[in-house]
Amino acid sequence: MQTKVSGAKTVIVPITGLGKNYFPFVEYLKDRYIKYVDCILMSTLPGAGDAITTTTGAFVNLAIQAGNTYFVSGEPLDRYDIEQNLGVRKPINRKMSLQNSFINVTNSALVGKSVVLVFWYDLPEYSQRNRTTETIVDSFEVSLVQNSGRNQFPDNRTMVGKRFRNLYLTYPTTTPTYADGITDVQAKNIYVTFQKGNYCVLDQLPLPLLYQIGLLEGLSFANIVFDFTYSFAFVGGGGTLTGYAGKSIFLNAVYENQ
């Protein structure tokens, strides 16, 4: 990603039938300056229902903030798929009306499932200019204690109050604390939420989006801040999955050295 983002929010769009399937109204994204929109094929959703397994036969229509004009019409959903596009995100760079935007579906295999979209946005009051060019890279692990639902982040004292520029996910088989790392397949069932107080900086972010190796463009955060004690990793699947408890999500974090 060429420009910095301040936060992200995941929006689940249910595909109820062929034809137009409107996005839900998301109060929080109203008046937000959207920079990019990603689609990712997850294995499970954070809530009930199934995620789509293909982007074929789905066409995206995005409305301007006034809701009466479409600045994207009939664009294949494939363009938004972060894996197919090797990290080259679909640029939006405007405010938009979600409730007037829709996905036109022609593939009956998608009906009854849901599309996972991630809206990356700019929020100047939280994203601040760089105070220094020097950065530190550290690591933290999120130990999964249950196979579904919330797994809280550890209380990390070293990185309290730091301003983060990037987060890198990797899939080691053994982490530095000698725990088993999660696999790329398991990551497709995990959503992470980074919170600062009650504000969700990265809200239900699909975990694989933090895996940036081999991509043509990487993520870049505008010095975001979050509290470890409020943040959590959510394992989807509604209790049907096993093999997560006892494993660790291993992340490297780049933050300002000050």
Binding site: I136, V137, S139, Y168, L216, G218
Partner: protein
């Protein structure tokens, strides 16, 4: 577009099953120099060997169990427990360093259960970078090279006399290849890019589903001394065919 004028050097870290923690060997070339970023090379194709002693590179899949710790010259830990896969050659947005590194205090540790004896990893270091505003030039010169099994070549034998005489300053290099190779690039002034792996020059070319770089390997203004620039196959005993494009 921004580009980086840089030197590229490398160190080899030999691995064994008994230590688990491997310190960086001292290097006089970039000691007390500002490091821009590092890159860690394992075996991506299979069978690649070190250009120094022919030791086998560790398999790339095992790199996810290596963790890097970099300490600067003020003994401050700059990077701690960074998974080595974050430094792989195809990273388009690499983790930057931007400081002088104390090599003797920096190390890479292995946490895994496989045998890693008699293998090695290569750590490439880009140092003394200088940011310049410049577009990638659209003038190119492409040469085709076929290296017979078990041999290496001198690049001047493949660059025509005209290209050598016009005194072109090379801005970047792109390579297409069937087997990987090292290119040991020398500049007339003495600047070096030592044993640069072909993976760093693998520029995206048309539609590709593979990981590629979004720009050629940018060297800055490099007056290549073609007579002292050599190409070595990474996998011994394999014929290597290369199309090498110079941007000037």
């Amino acid at each position: 577009m921004k580009k980086i004028r840089r030197n590229i050097d490398l160190i080899q870290i030999n691995l064994n099953d008994s230590d688990g923690q491997f310190y960086f060997p001292e290097n006089v070339d970039f000691r007390n120099r500002k490091i821009d970023n590092i890159m860690i090379l394992g075996s991506l194709v299979g069978g690649e060997v070190s250009p120094f002693d022919g030791k086998l590179l560790i398999d790339n899949s095992e790199l996810s169990n290596f963790y890097v710790e970099l300490v600067d010259d003020k003994k401050q830990v700059l990077q701690q427990n960074v998974n080595a896969t974050n430094f792989w050659p195809y990273m388009n947005s690499p983790i930057t360093v931007g400081s002088i590194i104390s090599l003797k205090l920096s190390f890479i540790k292995y946490i895994g259960s496989s045998s890693i004896a008699d293998t090695c990893i290569l750590v490439y270091v880009s140092y003394d970078g200088e940011m310049l505003e410049c577009d990638i030039p659209d003038r190119t010169h492409t040469i085709g090279i076929s290296i017979p099994a078990g041999e290496f070549i001198r690049v001047s034998d493949y660059v025509d006399e005209y290209f050598r005489r016009i005194g072109a300053t090379i801005k970047g290099i792109e390579a297409q290849f069937d087997n990987p190779f090292y290119m040991d690039i020398r500049e007339l002034s003495g600047k070096v890019a030592r044993f640069v792996p072909s993976f760093m020059m693998d520029f995206i070319n048309g539609n590709s589903s593979d990981a590629k770089h979004t720009q050629p390997l940018l060297l800055g203004d490099f007056d290549i001394d073609f007579k002292n620039t050599f190409i070595y196959p990474m996998i011994p005993g394999e014929v290597t065919n290369i199309n090498l494009t110079f941007y000037y």
